[in-house]
């Protein structure tokens, strides 16, 4: 014997962007709009302090600003540069900051002081990339004089200089695993891996485009390079074998960044997008849009803040929506865990007589009414505001079910002015939605049929009828226009097809019709 089957409410897949775990994760704070800070020039580097409270250094024009997590004003400014400063980078302990400059010197700052602790002079041209090696006592740099240098902090002298690149060196990165290893990427389309213990580069990777940014995975085994429109991942341990090449931007990729767990890779580009890749599948799982071309990008530890620097000097700070705190729910007094598990683990003995509790199926109100064949009441139940307004598909599903049962007409009949008004409002509003159209056209038809004799007796109802008419008229016009467009496109496609066989032509046009219809829906 079958039980009552509830009305099936058809879920229609939503078109457009799908909400995934990543969308939820990267979604901004609902209330707070992103903070925009205007800098003096293009922001070429953003670097987060590795220690709490996670301040970040922003290099723009001839200044380095240090911002706090929620502050919109800089906490500290280093402005002792004659020309543009480049690549202000924190040391692992967050105490020191190094920056290159257009005039060719590298300066080392103490976060508490103002004047530079050290100044490394030597490069004749602009130094675009500097960074600490993981032993904290050495600095690597790269600049427009095609050289990659290594400096000793205590003595303030150059240790070694590699002149292997044949074009500007614009990016670099030190290995976190080995204190002697660092990489630099250059406009000569290569990425070179250097070991401080050797005289020359250890490995050269051909990226194929001027390299704008490089990144080493925390494990040190994978290398990511960005240049041109491509982001490429290389396996260093396999001797620089290409693992995957990603082409998801339509302009040059300028910056790369890993999230704190190392599971997501972010890339910013001049095409105003930041893309988030999964590092397991290397598929784009999320993307952000910005107003102008992106030059630099940084993610705070624990992924709470995304800071993006743009060509017009605007710094965009987005705070990720914090995870829901569980403390709130814990405050509520709840029955002890014991209460829930009481008797759950009881194993019946052999002589016990088991009485099984029948599973109670809770039916919605309209289902209860439909079960007892009360058509009018079922319709009333789905015309209540919460259902009618927020889940119109339920209302329409019940209308369809009533139509299937042949009782829709009697359910619609015998209603007073207020109810007709309600029904007509609903129909006029929803009839143009393609998923509801077939059913609601029938409903509208029946309503007009039933209440034809009383037209003119109530101004409210008459107005609704007029509205319905307008809505349908508009929709018809719209459809006509769409068909015209379709006809135009058909002729266009027909001229494109080279094949003379008729069936191919038919196939094309039919395929087109289908896609356009899908779009319409």
């Amino acid at each position: 014997m079958a039980t009552y089957k509830p009305v099936v409410v058809q879920a229609i897949p939503k078109l457009g962007e799908r909400i995934t775990q990543d969308t939820l994760y990267w979604r901004g704070d609902k209330g707070g709009t992103p903070v925009q800070i205007k800098e003096f020039g293009a922001v070429n580097k953003i670097d987060f302090s590795p220690v709490s409270p996670y301040n970040y250094a922003v290099t723009a024009s001839s200044r380095i600003h240090i911002y706090g997590r929620y502050s919109q004003e800089p906490i500290k400014t280093f402005s002792r540069f004659k020309d543009a400063a480049y690549c202000a980078t924190y040391r692992d302990d967050g105490n020191l900051l190094v920056a290159g400059s257009e005039e060719g010197s590298i300066r080392l700052f103490d976060l508490s002081g103002r004047a530079p602790l050290r100044q490394f002079d030597g490069p004749t041209k602009a130094v675009h990339v500097v960074g600490f090696l993981s032993d904290k006592y050495r600095i690597f740099s790269g600049g427009d004089d095609y050289s990659s240098n290594l400096w000793d902090i205590p003595s303030g002298t150059e240790i070694v200089s590699y002149n292997e690149h044949t074009d500007y060196v614009r990016c670099g990165c030190a290995s976190k695993v080995n204190a002697d290893v660092f990489i630099t990427g250059s406009y000569d389309h290569t990425v070179k891996l250097f070991d401080a213990r050797t005289e020359s580069s250890v490995m050269t990777i051909e990226h194929g485009h001027p390299v704008e940014s490089v990144l080493l995975f925390p494990s040190g085994g994978l290398l990511v390079s960005a240049g041109g429109r491509y982001v490429k991942v290389w396996d260093v341990l396999k001797g620089g074998q290409l693992l995957v090449s990603l082409k998801n931007h339509h302009k040059t990729v300028t910056c790369l960044c890993l999230n704190s767990s190392g599971q997501r890779l972010l890339s910013g580009s001049l095409d105003r997008h930041v893309k988030v890749y999964s590092t397991t599948s290397y598929k784009v799982v999320h993307s952000f849009n910005y107003a102008t071309s992106i030059l630099s990008l940084a993610l705070s530890p624990e992924d709470e803040t995304i800071v993006v620097g743009m060509t017009n000097g605007v710094l965009n700070v987005k705070h990720r929506k914090p995870e829901e705190r569980k403390e709130n729910s814990q405050k509520k007094r709840q029955p002890a865990y014991r209460t829930y598990v009481k008797g759950r683990t009881y194993v019946p003995k052999q002589e016990d007589f088991c009485v099984s509790k029948p599973v109670k199926h809770v039916l919605r109100k309209y289902d209860k009414m439909l079960k007892s064949f009360q058509s009018s009441k079922a319709l009333d139940a789905v015309l209540e505001p919460p259902i009618r307004l927020y889940t119109p598909e339920v209302t329409v599903a019940v209308m369809q079910e009533l139509h299937r049962r042949g009782t829709l007409r009697s359910a619609l009949a015998g209603r007073d002015e207020k109810q007709i008004n309600l029904l007509l409002t609903f129909v006029a509003r929803r009839v143009i939605e393609p998923r509801f159209t077939p059913v609601l056209v029938t409903v509208a038809d029946m309503i007009t049929d039933i209440y034809q004799p009383v037209v003119g007796q109530s101004a409210v109802v008459d107005r609704q009828f007029v509205k319905l008419q307008e809505a349908i008229g508009k929709e018809i016009d719209y459809q006509e226009e769409l068909l015209e467009v379709l006809g135009m496109m058909d002729t266009l496609f027909a001229t494109f097809t080279k094949k003379t066989a008729t069936y191919v032509e038919e196939k094309k046009s039919n395929g087109l019709t289908e896609t356009i219809e899908a779009n319409m829906n």
Binding site: M1, K5, Q10, D22, K371, E401, N510
Partner: protein, 843 residues
């Protein structure tokens, strides 16, 4: 035993007949048989048979066959509660011992029997409804005196007419108060006949036609203790009649709940409540025959045809139009149901075979797909496809399943459901995935309006070896296109469902309606028929390869040849042509002028079965596409039109004697006529078929393994290896064991066996090897064997022959001897049979 070469194929009905014949009967309460209180068995008429089910386990325990036509009534013998009367359209009443399934007596009445009533009060007679002699469509209730003479087959010629002009339906007559009176209804008349007073009262309701129907009588039930009659009417009313001794001052009250015809009524044993049922498939319990006190048991699944009560009132059962028995507790709780093959009025899905279970799949309950196991004659399960509440109301247009297809290994199931409506037709294509864990199909994708008009055909690309991504579904529609659906994998690793189906290609041909589609065996070609033309497409690039045409007829069905014949494409057109095209030369290979209705290729061989319909009879042709001459022709397969056919693969290839039946080796052909009879072709004899395979197995397996049996088995194996070509002993042993008579004798408890003298002739007959069936070679073998053993037995043989001369009834004596089953004596018996008895006749 070698199958006799001359034996023709027999058309055998299978799939169990419907229970529509008569009300079911519970065995009288006998606590020693049932496991708990209440009746232990349920008996019901099913086609030509009477079936006995166990109430506790729902299992069919016994199938009692013997009637030559439909069984129309069954009644317990009121004087012996292990006996059962059954009446049939073949004009006989049989008395059965249903505990053993043995027919005790057969009374031949002569004319068709349409209903049977047996009452305790009339000791030696039963009541039957027979057609009135000389008049068509007029029936009378007669009482038949059952003579108590000895013997099995008796004539029952003493008929006395009780009531004239009764209705043919068994529901229209009821006996009241232990047979004080009999009441009968027909159209708008109610007549009550009092046996004692010999008084006949007629009542008549005024013929009123309302919107929902007229108030004609449909059924009647009498109160067991009071003078009270309940009648059901076509407009859904129930009338309770009292005081009907008086012709004028009778009274009646009306109970009205049903909105459609009341199909059956039954009083409870005490008469305190009344049960009624109808098209709504709701069982209504009326307390004290009052309008306000009633209980319902709703959603029984299908219209209720008959209601019957157990004699102790603990159970009641309803028989439904969809071949189901529902057993219901006294407190109106659903207890269990016995489901046969559901024969819905219109099988739109066709006969499909589930590759996984080898079950036959077709429309079941409305909106459901039934998986029916042919071996066990049982419904395996019913899959809810439409998933909507079905409203049992006449004239309501509800969504139903129209097309079904399985992928090659049964991993995917595609179903199409449809609701025909002028304004907004509903059409859904659903794709189901077989979930190994849940052991059932799960809905994967639902596509609304896959075509703008009805879907005419759908098929999967059958590729056994390849993996999931090669599965392709093609649907053809009346909207002049065919669509190709493929699985698309969701790229998102966190998505709930990794695969779903979407449309890949839409093809059309000169705006003709697409009617059929079919993939070649290797899946490289797709044939789609567009009205008069068959088009062949490449399944990789979806290019049109070639077209075949055979005007003016529209293509009715197409299929590709298989295995060695895979270069052929067969098409059937509705102007009566069967065409075979060669795909390599793109030319017509041969054609035949036949009005083929059904074209069914065997999935395991290259044979193709075609059923034609010509001059009111169906004929079967089996052919291979590479030769125009059919391999097998069976004319006059049956009188009805054959709608559908299906080849069901056998579990193991059958040994087929004749070259002619080679096509039956791998699969079995089933077909469905337009009267919803499921039939098959069988080479086996009737007796072999009657004993179900499972039962035979059960007996053999239940025997404990003893050292002796092991020894015997070893010995036998050796023997069979030694003279495998002769196979004589083996053959004989097998013959003895297979005989149902021997089995019956050996496996029936001794205390229920009839006397030895009764059994003896049957037993001996079963031991004898019929001469007619033996080929000359076999006889020769036997002679040889006998000559080997003659020395040992010669003495005994002489004894026996002597005895024979002395005794006048030698057969009986031998029977007693053979009961002990000495092997040597068996052989003697055989030899004796060879002895010429002609001299006896000289005396």
């Amino acid at each position: 035993m070698v199958a006799p070469a001359a034996a023709a194929l027999r058309v055998v009905r299978c799939g169990g007949s419907s229970f529509h014949g008569a009300r079911a009967v519970f065995s009288a309460d006998s606590k020693q048989v049932g496991p708990g209180p209440g009746p232990g068995y349920l008996l019901c008429a099913s086609g030509d048979f009477v079936k006995m089910y166990s109430v506790a386990t729902e299992e069919m325990l016994r199938l009692m066959g013997g009637h030559a036509d439909l069984v129309t009534g069954i009644q317990l013998n009121p004087h012996n509660h292990v006996q059962l009367y059954s009446s049939s359209l073949d004009g006989t009443i049989k008395l059965w011992d249903f505990m053993d399934g043995i027919p005790i007596k057969t009374f031949t009445v002569g004319s068709k029997l349409l209903a049977l009533y047996a009452l305790a009060r009339f000791e030696d007679s039963v009541f039957v409804v027979i057609p009135k002699r000389g008049e068509r469509a007029t029936f009378q209730l007669v009482s038949v005196k059952l003579t108590k003479a000895a013997g099995q087959d008796l004539e029952a010629k003493e008929l006395s007419v009780v009531l004239d002009g009764v209705d043919a339906s068994p529901k229209s007559i009821a006996f009241g108060r232990e047979g004080e009176y009999v009441a009968s209804v027909k159209e708008i008349d109610l007549q009550v006949y009092f046996f004692k007073q010999k008084q006949l009262n007629r009542f008549c309701v005024s013929a009123v036609k309302t919107k929902s129907g007229n108030n004609q009588f449909t059924c009647i039930a009498c109160h067991p203790t009071e003078d009270c009659i309940a009648t059901g009417h076509a407009d859904g009313k129930i009338r309770i009649w009292r005081n009907f001794y008086h012709k004028k001052e009778y009274t009646y009250s009306t109970l009205h709940w049903h909105h459609d015809t009341v199909m059956d009524l039954a009083f409870s044993v005490e008469g305190s409540s009344l049960l009624s049922g109808g098209v709504e498939s709701v069982l209504v319990l009326w307390h004290n025959q009052s309008e306000c006190e009633k209980d319902f048991l709703p959603r029984l699944g299908s219209p209720i045809e008959y209601i019957s009560m157990a004699s102790d009132g603990t159970l009641c059962c309803t028989l439904h139009t969809d071949n189901r028995i529902t057993i219901i507790n006294s407190n109106l709780r659903f207890a269990r149901s016995i489901q046969g093959l559901i024969k819905s009025a219109d099988i739109k899905t066709g006969l499909v075979v589930d590759p996984r279970t080898k079950a036959l799949v077709l429309n079941g309950e409305p909106g459901h797909l039934q998986f029916y196991c042919l071996q066990s004659d049982q419904q395996l399960f019913s899959l809810d496809i439409v998933q909507r509440q079905y409203i049992h109301q006449a004239g309501l247009n509800q969504a139903d399943l129209v097309k079904v297809a399985f992928s090659a290994r049964g991993k995917w199931l595609a179903t199409v459901e449809e609701r025909e409506e002028v304004t907004d037709p509903e059409l859904q294509l659903k794709l189901w995935f077989y979930d190994e864990e849940a052991q059932s199909f799960k809905l994967n994708t639902r596509i609304n309006m896959p075509h703008e008009d009805q879907i005419t055909d759908l098929c999967f690309r059958d590729m056994d070896e390849l993996e999931d991504d090669s599965v392709i579904l093609v649907t053809t529609g009346r909207d002049c296109v065919f669509k190709v659906w493929v699985i698309v994998e969701d790229t998102d690793p966190e998505a709930q469902q990794s695969v779903s189906w979407s449309c890949d290609f839409i093809g059309s041909y000169h705006n003709y309606q697409a009617t059929n589609c079919c993939f070649s065996e290797d899946g490289s070609l797709l044939a789609v028929s567009f009205e008069e033309t068959v088009t062949v497409w490449d399944s990789v690039t979806w290019d049109l390869k070639c077209t075949f045409c055979h005007p003016p007829g529209k293509i009715r069905n197409i299929c590709f040849g298989r295995l060695t014949c895979s270069k052929y494409l067969i098409g059937v057109s509705d102007d009566g042509f069967l065409c075979c095209w060669n795909l390599l030369s793109c030319a017509l290979e041969w054609s035949a002028h036949l009005n083929i209705l059904v074209l069914q290729p065997d999935p395991l061989s290259e044979y193709i079965a075609a059923v034609s319909w010509l001059s009111k009879e169906s004929s079967l042709f089996v052919f291979k596409p590479n030769e125009p001459r059919p391999i097998y022709i069976q004319r006059n397969l049956c009188r009805e039109k054959i709608q559908l056919a299906a080849f069901i693969p056998r579990d193991e290839p059958e040994t087929v004697g004749s070259e002619k039946y080679l096509w039956l080796r791998r699969s079995q052909l089933f077909f469905l006529t337009d009267t919803q009879e499921l039939m098959t072709l069988s080479t086996k004899s009737l007796q072999e078929r009657l004993t179900p395979a499972s039962k035979q197995l059960a007996v053999e397996e239940s025997l404990p393994v003893t050292p002796f049996s092991l020894l015997l088995g070893k010995h036998r194996r050796q023997q069979s290896q030694d003279d495998i070509d002769l196979g004589k002993l083996f053959v004989h042993n097998k013959c003895e064991q297979d005989s149902p008579a021997v089995k019956e004798l050996l496996h029936t408890p001794a205390h229920v066996l009839p006397s030895a003298s009764f059994l003896c002739p049957i037993f001996i007959n079963s031991l004898l090897i019929s001469k007619e069936n033996k080929s000359a070679e076999e006889v020769a073998d036997e002679v040889e064997m006998e000559s080997e053993k003659t020395k040992d037995d010669s003495d005994e043989e002489r004894d026996v022959t002597e005895m024979e001369q002395e005794d006048t009834s030698p057969l009986e004596l031998f029977g007693e001897m053979t009961c002990k089953l000495p092997k040597s004596q068996e052989k003697e018996l055989r030899k004796i049979r060879k002895v010429d008895y002609s001299w006896i006749s000289a005396f």
